[in-house]
Symmetry: C2
Subunit: 337 residues, 2 copies
Amino acid sequence: CSSTTPITATLFPGDGIGPEIAESVKKVFTTAGVPINWEEHYVSTEIDPRTQSFLTWESLESVRRNKVGLKGPMATPIGKGHRSLNLTLRKELNLYANVRPCYSLPGYKTRYDDVNLITIRENTEGEYSGLEHQVVRGVVESLKIITRQASLRVAEYAFHYAKTHGRERVSAIHKANIMQKTDGLFLKCCREVAEKYPEITYEEVVIDNCCMMLVKNPALFDVLVMPNLYGDIISDLCAGLVGGLGLTPSCNIGEDGVALAEAVHGSAPDIAGKNLANPTALLLSGVMMLRHLKMNEQAEQIHSAIINTIAEGKYRTADLGGSSTTTDFTKAICDHL
Amino acid sequence: CSSTTPITATLFPGDGIGPEIAESVKKVFTTAGVPINWEEHYVSTEIDPRTQSFLTWESLESVRRNKVGLKGPMATPIGKGHRSLNLTLRKELNLYANVRPCYSLPGYKTRYDDVNLITIRENTEGEYSGLEHQVVRGVVESLKIITRQASLRVAEYAFHYAKTHGRERVSAIHKANIMQKTDGLFLKCCREVAEKYPEITYEEVVIDNCCMMLVKNPALFDVLVMPNLYGDIISDLCAGLVGGLGLTPSCNIGEDGVALAEAVHGSAPDIAGKNLANPTALLLSGVMMLRHLKMNEQAEQIHSAIINTIAEGKYRTADLGGSSTTTDFTKAICDHL
Ligand SMILES: CC(C)[C@H](C(=O)O)[C@@H](O)C(=O)O
Ligand SMILES: CC(C)[C@H](C(=O)O)[C@@H](O)C(=O)O
């Protein structure tokens, strides 16, 4: 069911190569006739006292109002007294689940064929609490926080995702043999939710074993759900199986239906402004955003055009071993539409 | 320099397949003429109040006295009121560094060729503190502890290892962009030690990026040093690159020159007693023990015999796709000696 009334979405082009790859998305979306008006917001050069960060209050309000957005890479400026831009977005917008599909791109060979994994990461707590103390000189502690509320919420999201996306299995990744109370609570919540989804196979896998199994045979997994830090680690590992963060999309899910799709690679300042960046991760993140908006027809069209362009292999950016510019690669995708 | 006065070493055959693979080690060592008397200790069926665990006081005293030992898999009996056997050993014997070489075995094909990595894991603190609290119902916290003393100690071990083993680079793995104080202290200690080893290249890699790089191109790394949990995760990932924990040795280093070599795979109760287990990990761990004892000649002989037997491919256990029994595989190794 493709919508025709235009939708307003927030766009954070971000830093470094961000503006170039955002340009690519706008081009491709326009060519495909996607009815979206972008509300563009850049990272500020000054700290906004209302957010305590370089993100302006207006930009956060824009996502809250539109409930949907797309974000390029944002390098957090060095210095004290402000928060990381990515963490600020997650906290302020309550983006509780980070969804990263990792699948092999036809025609782009890695050591692994037919990878098809979804990692779903709790995005708000765990090791990312920011609570650290020096107890006595030379002894530092940091607090990992696991709550029932956040664990149930992300577990519910994972099982619902599995069910609505034709997936068969959810694996909860943990280290509850060591962190019995924190990771134990996470597992308990996953089990509670699993009972409501008898059609989905549920299993629990210890993180070290999970990483070993993933590199030996990723086909053993389907949907993986886990606390924040494990999600950070495993989602990058999975991205590595299919070629890296330049090729994998992601979408952050918040309360009240907010969705912020995001390219999670870096801002690559060394090649910024040179028309060399690969826009694939941001484009595929844009496709996730369209699916979230139920613009399925355009989502599939654009997805196929990206996949086919890469599969053909004639136009590829330098990171994929080609010599195309960002604009040439983008044009090739538009030609496929 | 091979010793001829016999040395007494502690042997923990462990549970499940443990006794069978320990038998294999004894057979191979005897055939190679290794001058070692084994002091065998089994896991008790009752909790020893002096250790609060199923490990007896006598078995710990044996390692303390001999300063060297070899350990098979130990499944911690289910139940409350006692500590994990592995963790008890690490704590009681102050086994502060866990060293795991991961290298491709000639003739045993995986997706990766020429892997040659050493992971060195801090083994006593971090997320393994065992300190967890439920703050209010549904909110649980666990404490990660990083100390200057333990970080310096493992960093020193890693750089010394690199220098004495002809290695060129040490990578400290961390998540200090999020855990600035704890992982930050770990990095600070690594940097301090790095300054004393100008001939070794030092770098710092964020754990998520490290996992992505490892699966894309493990040749980017050489020696990796890291806090406890990251070590747990990355050492299993690296083992997966070359075939899994059944093929990778490990050695725990303690204060006062204690070394406890260890096969880190599970006790595989399903195949226990069936003469099907693969003794490779325990054999290679035994080789690490011999090198620690400076019995280099026998170490290299046994190492070659293991490697050549696997490379030939005529005798392989079921986990490596063969149909040999443990005793046949062991005999084949002895025949190579
Ligand atoms: C940049 C960093 C703070 C971030 C994280 O650790 O979550 C990144 O690795 C990610 O996965 O989005
Ligand atoms: C069994 C478990 C407690 C242990 C650990 O987490 O350290 C294991 O995974 C290991 O790596 O030795």
